[in-house]
Symmetry: C2
Subunit: 453 residues, 2 copies
């Protein structure tokens, strides 16, 4: 029997994160202060993030040491296994070998704790007592809840009210890890009170929840805000995954032709792919694919522009692909991919044509996910199914071209608390969704007056 | 940093299951035909199970080869990691080293597919087209659904109606794996129709669901029945876990002083513990603990007697610890431990004092489970929390005695779709439950006239 799984011994776990800023072939446009239009400095961010993380955010060092305390917690579930998807290969009947990195084995079931653990550690080390964050469907909120508990920090999570009510499992996970999960809009913040005054039954939105979390953090000097994607330091922490994966592939003498990840804010994609982006920058012939939803086609239909990271315009201006900070994607089940922008790092490598972005409709992603579950066993998160849809497409192309290919992708998480999504698909409740161009243009109007990268 | 996880390379996966019947120090009482009072023969079981599994059920061969096709599917998630629980050790502050075998990494999240895969394979090899089974909370039904899908068998699962309605996630898992999940009582069987005629709103019970599944199987000669615990061949298939674990411990030069598993029907307990029971029979000084709930104290308060495996008296009489086939345990969240009997193999080694049974109240199990989740990260199944409660107890004893101990237990599954149980505990809805002796005596009255072992 051929090998289908590659483990790393925990002594082989990478001891440093990889910082792509050291290898960027062209300079990135800096974040700008929305008031002055000037690049933001560390002091501008100090009320929001601890200084040790701000330093990481702007660092251009290629390798950054992972603190011993962070490694210790990573070892609760890392190194994660690399699998070969032989049963899925057989079903596809194409000349491809498919490998996947299994990030679903972490306690909350996704890649999110890779940065949650690191952020909790650095905040604790900086003397912070409490973290505040927002969460949509709850993957990030649950990961940060666990991490805060492990480092003795309080954790307050503003969860979009409609998700809080409709998707109780992630909220219950947060409670189990001792966090305080609050439906947003809430009466805990001025931002929340304002919304409630207008509409006491507001279902909430990610934009409102971000405002509440930031306000909650900056009003308390022992607290800071924490974000689960988009920022440089978040992507940095995720690279532990791709670095592990490269060691695993080396063990079996394999190098991929195609590397795939789904992309919402960009962190799980970055985690697996940035170490391969580095190889490509240094001459490797490899294609790297970011899979996004057609209902939120940030990279495939949005411009590369300066825009706010949040709806209520509290963040610096980021140079990124964007659909406009006011864009509200259709309520697809892949909640983690419903973000109007894209991490500046990922946007930059897409703009430089190092990474290719492709969009997939939810129907083809669930079709791929069902095939996956029925061959490989694992039920994927709806987000992850976008990566699997890209794998299917690559396999079909290889078959047409009669070309052998090694495909690697990030299995970013399981879908065991997203099963209602599968039910909707299997019972015919989901449909193909065409996003009208007018809708994109309408929200892009709002950013016309902003500086250009 | 000391090692906290031990992986086996997949080439090291055990190629045979271990059959404890070859090593039993005293003879076991055979299953009896309820009509004749004589030991049942293979032909009596032929309408219910395929002959290749019946042969395994009665085999006394010590080692039984795992078919290549079964190994191939096991490798989708096996070998499972062995972890050291350093963070939990630190919290307990006792002179113990705690190791746990992580069966939660399987696609449905528990040990159940170890036998589901094997049973689906043997039925397929015997020419069967469809399997029928029952499920309570859904762990077993979901595991068998996945296994049937992988071997191209149809799968029909009769799920206790109250669980079907209250716990939709396991049912949705079954659908995702292509199974037909039917709330029981149903109008698909005579047994179901009879119950519905008496009470159209019957919430169902495991006893009724078993009747429906067996009837459904025996009425269709291309179908067979499948059971997820209790029987010899089911326990046999689970031993892959303990055998892997022994190899992992050998790698790090560790041998446990105490081995712990929770026990409902006995299969997850058997999986980890039987290879250690073998060592104990051959002279090893080791204690082996089966943890059951105080609300269903089969081994700690029931007699060793002949009794039916099911409520409606369709099975052979099994020699086992039992609370009486009519016993209805309190509706605790650890649904997998709510069984009136105990696997004959486990009952026998408890009776022979090779294994010690202990009972734990749900309050101490959830308390242990919360401590576990907040240190080790993983949220355990409510069943698994019984094993963790026993670990806590062992650690406290070691502290009192000032004696160093190595504790090993089976982390049989995660609780990500059982989070309502944690919510009930955290919000104070659960209480200590005292089971009145009269209740046990009442249901034991029913078995007074049966043969004695």
């Amino acid at each position: 029997m051929d090998q289908v799984k590659v483990f790393l011994d925990e002594s082989e776990i990478p001891k440093q994160w990889y910082n792509i800023l050291a290898d960027m072939p062209t300079p990135m446009s800096p974040p700008l202060h929305p008031g002055t239009g000037q690049p933001v400095g560390p002091d501008d961010l100090a009320p929001v993030f601890p200084m040790n993380l701000i330093e990481q955010e702007v660092s251009t060092e290629r390798w950054i040491d992972i603190p011993e305390e962070v490694l210790e917690k990573y070892l609760l579930w890392r190194p994660t296994p690399l699998h070969r998807a032989r049963s899925f290969e057989k079903l596809l009947d194409a000349p491809v070998k498919i490998y996947y990195k299994n990030e679903g084995v972490s306690p909350p079931g996704s890649h999110k704790p890779n940065t949650a653990i690191a952020q909790a550690y650095y905040n604790k080390a900086f003397g912070i007592k409490r973290l505040s964050t927002e969460t949509g469907a709850g993957q990030w909120g649950s990961a940060l809840s666990m991490a805060c508990q492990m480092f003795g920090l309080e954790c307050r999570v503003f969860m979009v009210r409609v998700s809080y009510e409709q998707k109780p499992y992630r909220r219950l996970m947060m409670n189990t890890w001792g966090a305080n999960c609050i439906p947003s809009p809430s009466d805990k913040t001025e931002a929340g009170k304002k919304i409630l005054a207008q509409d006491p039954n507001s279902p909430g939105s990610l934009g409102i929840a971000i405002s509440e979390a930031i306000e909650d953090a900056v009003m308390d000097e022992t607290a800071r805000y924490s974000l689960g994607s988009v920022l440089n330091h978040v992507l940095l922490h995720q690279t532990i995954n791709g670095l592990e994966c490269q060691k695993q592939l080396e063990k079996i003498g394999v190098y991929p032709d195609v590397v795939i990840g789904c992309a919402g804010g960009g962190s799980n994609f970055a985690g697996l792919c940035l170490p391969f982006v580095r190889d490509k920058i240094h001459g490797k012939d490899i294609s790297i694919v970011a899979a996004e939803p057609t209902s939120c086609p940030t990279m495939t239909r949005g411009p590369f522009a300066y825009d706010f990271g949040d709806t209520v315009q509290m963040t610096p201006l980021l140079a990124m692909y964007t659909l406009g900070h006011d864009f509200v994607p259709a309520p697809i089940h892949a909640g983690g991919l419903r973000y109007h922008g894209m991490a500046p790092i990922i946007s930059h490598v897409v703009k430089e044509q190092i990474v290719e972005a492709r969009a997939y409709d939810q129907m083809e992603t669930f079709d791929a996910g069902i095939k996956w579950a029925r061959t490989e066993g694992y039920i994927s998160a709806p987000e992850t199914n976008h990566a699997i849809a890209a794998v299917v497409q690559e396999a079909e192309r290889a078959k047409e071209e009669g070309k052998e290919k090694v495909i690697l992708f990030n299995w970013s998480g399981h879908g065991l608390v997203d099963l209602v999504a599968y039910d909707d698909f299997l019972s015919g409740k989901l449909t193909k969704y065409e996003l009208p161009e007018e809708e994109i243009q309408k929200s892009l109007k709002l950013i016309e007056g902003l500086p250009k990268p």
